[in-house]
Amino acid sequence: MNATNPILLQAMSVTKLFPGVVALDAVNFSARAGEVHALMGENGAGKSTLIKVLTGFYPRDGGQILLDGKEIRPKTPAHAQQLGISTVYQEVNLIPTLTVAENIYLGREPTFFGKIRWRRLNRLAEQAMSRLNLHIDVKRDLGSYSIAIQQMVAIARAVDVKAKLLILDEPTSSLDSGEVQQLFAIMRQLKSLGLGIIFVSHFLDQIYEISDRITVLRNGKLVGEYLTRELPRVELITKMMGRELATFETGLATSVASDSDLKPPILEAKRLGKRNAIEPFDLEVRQGEVLGLAGLLGSGRTETARLLFGIDRPDKGEIQIDGERARMISPADAIARGFGFCSEDRKAQGIIPDLTVRENVILALQASKGWLRFFSRRKQTELANHYIKALNIATRDADTPIKNLSGGNQQKVLLARWLALDPRFLILDEPTRGIDVGAKADIQKLILSLCQQGKAVMFISSELEEVVRCSNRVAVLRDRRKVRELTGAEINEHNIMATIARSDA
C-alpha cells in the first residue's frame, strides 16, 4: 500500500517500434510486491504493447527490464513464466476440451519416470483451487464452466507457477458484478501473499476499488505514476485523454429532443416474442430518436435486437414497418429495408481481421449492391477515408489490415460499414464495450448526429450512464421481458436501476 513496498519489476526507458509507429516511447514502469498496479490508457496508448514486451511476446527495441534487481530479457511467454511473470488475458487462454485439473498443470504435470501421475495431479489441482476458495470438480472439462470460472482457473494456473508478478489483462470484461467481486477477493488474497499484480481494465469503478497505484500511458508515452487514493477520477480521465472531459460531457444532453413523439414510427413491434428468448413485447422505433435498451446481461437485450433484424424468427406477434405489416425472415430483408445491425461480438461476428480497413468498410455496401457491380478502387478509398476522418479512426491509412487496429478503432470501422449503407434505423449492440473513453465519446456523438439527421437508433449498453445520456426513450428489460418504458425526464440511472431491481411486475 505504501512506497515502502519493495519494487519487484522495473522497466526503464522501454521502447518498442512497429513499422511506422512508435508503440512505446521510452516508458518507465514499476510494479511493487503486494500491490495492485493499474495500467491505464486509451486504446492505442501502449498498454497491450507494454504487457506483451514484459511477457516476452514482443522483443523490446530499447531500454531495460529488471526483475528483483536483475536484468531480464524474456524471449517467449513460457520464458517469462519461468522468470516469474504470469499473465491472464481477457480471452481465457486455456484448453476448453481438457479438464480443469489438466489446464492448471499442463506442461508441469507431476511425473514418475515420464509417466503422468493423474491422481496426484487432480489432488494438487483441487488444492490449488481451494487456495483460491473455489470448490469445483476439477475432473470436468473446462469448457463446461462459465467464463468467470475459466478465468479463475487461468489465475490458479498462473499463480501456481510460483509467479512473482501476475498480469491481469482486462479480466473483468465478461464477468458480472458478483463474479468481479469473487475475482477481487482472489486478487486481495494474492496481494496479501506478496504477489505483485498489474491490472488492466476499462472500468473506472473497478480501478478505484482494487488498485493501489495507477500508471497512465498515452500515445505510447508515460504520462505519470500516481497513488490511486491521491488521484481524483476527473484528473485520471483528463490524463488518459489529454483533453478536457467537458468536451463530451456537455452537448449530448441538449439534443434530447422532446418532440420525437410526433415523428412517425419506422418500426412497430406488436406482441412480438420468441420462446426462451424474449417474452412478447410492444415496441416503437421513431425517426430521429435514440431508443435505449437497458437491462442486465442476459435480460433479453440482444435477443430483442436479433428479432427486429430478422436474425431469429419470432414465434409470436408481428412487425410493422412504416405502418404496414412486414415479414422479415432474414437479415437481408432487414438490410433491404434500410436497417443496420452492429453486433455485440465484434471479433466473432463483425470484423474480418485480415482484410484492410477499406475492405471492411466496403463489405456491406458491396453486398447490398450485388457482387457483380464493380466498385472503383478510387471510390472505395474515398469512402474509407471519409469515415476514417469522420469517426476519428486511428489508422495509418485505409489499406492497413484491420487486425492491426485497437479494439475501439475496429469498432468504429464496423460502424462505418453500416453507415456506408446510409441506414434509416441502426441497431447498436454494446458498441462501446471494451473500448476507451475517447472512442466511447466519439461513438456517442455519432449516435446523436445520426438522430439529428432524422435516423433512428437502437442503443444497447451495459453502462447505464451511457444509456441515460444518449437516449430519448429507454426500454427496460428484466429476465427476458420488457418491463417498462421511460421517456423524457423519467430517464435517469436511479429509475432504471429501480425498475431492474424491482421483483414484482
Partner: protein, 350 residues
Amino acid sequence: MTEQANQLVYAPPRHPWRFRLRAQHIPLLATFVVCLMLYTAACIYLRDRGFFSLSVFISFFSDNAFLGLTAIGMTFVILSGGIDLSVGSMIGFTSILIARLMNPEPFTLFHHTITLPVFHPLVAIGVALIAGSFLGLIQGVLIQFFELAPFLVTLAGMFFIHGLAQVISLSSIGIEHPLLDKLSDFAIPIGSASVRFPEIVFAVVALSAIYISRYTKFGRTIYAIGGNEQSAILMGLPVARTKVLIYALSGFCSALGGVIYALAKWSGQSEGGLGLELDTIAAVVIGGTLLTGGLGSILGTILGVLIVSIIQAAIIFQGTLSSSWARIMIGALLFVFIVLQKILSSRARS
C-alpha cells in the same frame, strides 16, 4: 445466471460417484456401441458360416494391420488439428523401397552406373522406417515453420512420395528371405486360433500409442494443440517441436504399415496403399476423434478400424454382396458420426 455462477463457485461437486458420463466420452461410447451391435448382428446373421470364432476375430486385425498402424499415426495428427494425406503413398513407397533394397538393380545417376549391394531384410526395414519418419518430419517442418496448411503440404507430400515409389520401380518386386519365412511361420497359439506377427506389431504399437496419448507430456500437448493452438503457445507448451514430431510419428506409423504390407504381400508395390489415406481418416473419425482436433482417443481409432474390418469381413462371408456395399456402409456410418460430433460440439459450446 448469477445464481448459477455462484453455485459453480461455492458449491462442492454435487455428484459423489466417480465414474460419471462426461460429454467427451459420448463419441467413444457411440463407437463402442456401434462396434458391438455390428459384431453381434454379423455373428447372428452369419452364424452358419462360422463368423463367430476367435480366428475370425483375430483376422480383423491381421487383414487390416497396415490400416490400423497408419490410423494410429493419423489419430495423433488429427488430434492436433492437422491432417496427413501422404500416408497412403507412404505405404507403397516403403514397401517398394524394402523390396528394391533386398533385390537391387544397377541404375544410373549423373552418368555413373551404381550398383547397391543386397541388403538384409532387417536393414532394409530399418532404412524404410527411417526414410518414412524423415519424410514425415520434413512435412512437419514445412507445416510448422512456414505456417503452411497441413492439407496442402501433405497433399504435395502424397504426390512426391508416390513419385519416389514409382521411380524406384513401376512394377512390383517380390521379396524372399529365410528370416521372412520364419517371421511368417511365427505364431503364438491362443485356443483354437493363433496370433501372428502383424497382430503383435499392431498390438505393441496400439498399446504404446495409448500410453503416449494418456500418460506423457508429449501426448497431452497434442490434445492441447488440437483444443486451442494459440492457448497452448501462451501456456508455454512446446508447440513447434510437438507439431513437427507428430508428422514424423505419422510418417513412422505409415512406414511401419508399409513394412507389414510388404510382408503380407511378399512383395513391394509402388501402387500399394494408394488412396488408403481416406480410409484411414474414415476409421479415425468413426473412432470418435473430432476432425477439428482436441477430442478423441487411440482406443476409439482401434474400434474404428475394427468396425471397418467387421463390415468388410461380414460382406466377404456373406458371399453374394459386392464389396461396394462395404464402402456404402462405411460412408453411411461416417455421415452418422460427423452429425453426432456436430451435435455434441455445438451442445458443448452452449
